[in-house]
């Protein structure tokens, strides 16, 4: 096995492991947000959570496999480590971006849910009695 193939093997192993770890973290911690956003409707929250994680896997593993052959080719151990580090760094940045995007989506959903029960933003200026139903 030459250096290039070794780089690819380590790259795939580390990237997929990282993706799985981030996806699991999102799945576990994002659930609470979603349950709150859907007013305690747990089956719906779980379903949305699952769909989001599936999308997360598809995008990240898609990027990892697409980016496999790009970059310098290693000819010795030093270059192997450098190439591996660059490639994993790119994956980490993409994962970070996706992670924050997911957080943004969770937060947006939660905020929207909170709006439903939000009190009037301004206090009344006067009070009148209302006679009968109109």
């Amino acid at each position: 096995m030459n250096y290039v193939v070794t780089t690819y093997a380590f790259y795939l192993l580390i990237s997929v492991a990282l993706t799985v770890w981030v996806a699991r973290t999102l799945h576990k911690s994002g659930r609470l947000f979603l349950v709150d956003a859907f007013h305690g409707n747990e089956p719906l929250a779980d379903s949305i959570n699952h769909l989001l994680v599936v999308g997360f896997y598809l995008i990240n593993i898609g990027y990892v496999t697409l980016a496999l052959k790009y970059g310098d080719k290693a000819a010795n151990v030093q270059e192997l480590l450098e190439v591996l580090s660059t490639k994993i760094g790119a994956v980490l940045l993409i994962l970070g971006g996706m992670h924050f995007f997911n957080l943004y989506v969770f937060n947006k959903m939660r905020k929207r849910a909170l709006l439903h029960g939000a009190p009037p933003p301004l206090p009344p200026q006067a009070h009148l009695s209302v006679v009968g139903q109109i």
Partner: protein, 146 residues
């Protein structure tokens, strides 16, 4: 709060347009529109004359809380599903004076806005009527509207 009553100037074309727009939006709190000229307004809301509802829009909740002018507009937005976030933004102390001023300005010049809108809608109606095909009437009978 289960309902908001919006007291608006029913003789102002611009206000009627706004009412139609508000009525079309999906709402968290249903809005009931009451023209100022409705004879029962003062019986249903005793003391409303003190607020001079002919000057600026008034919003009254079913529990009797009252907002007027810019605040009334903010409350109308708050009642709507798609605009509640905007109402919270506008209610911010930095933006609220601007909202109030804009609302006062619009209320003051609403007749002018109405004239523009009326002229525009009259022109549009004239164009649409002109575009309709004219049916020729037979000589031995009069034309009946369809």
């Amino acid at each position: 709060m289960k309902r908001l009553y919006v007291i608006y100037d029913g003789q102002c074309h611009f206000c009627r347009r706004c009412r139609v727009w508000l009525d079309r939006q999906p709402a968290y709190v249903p809005l009931t529109f009451i023209p100022l000229q409705w004879p029962e307004v003062s019986c249903r809301f005793p003391g409303i004359e003190r607020l001079q509802p002919d000057k600026e829009i008034v919003v009254i909740s079913d529990t009797g809380d009252v907002w007027q002018g810019g605040a009334a507009w903010v409350m109308c937005l708050w009642a709507l599903r798609e605009y509640r976030e905007w109402s919270q933004r506008l209610a911010n102390p930095v933006l609220l004076p601007f909202a109030r001023r804009a609302c006062a300005l619009v209320s003051e010049h609403r007749q002018q806005f109405s004239r523009w809108l009326e002229e525009e809608s009259a022109d549009r109606l004239r164009e649409r009527l002109a575009a309709l095909p004219v049916e020729a009437c037979a000589n031995d009978r009069y034309c009946e509207p369809h």
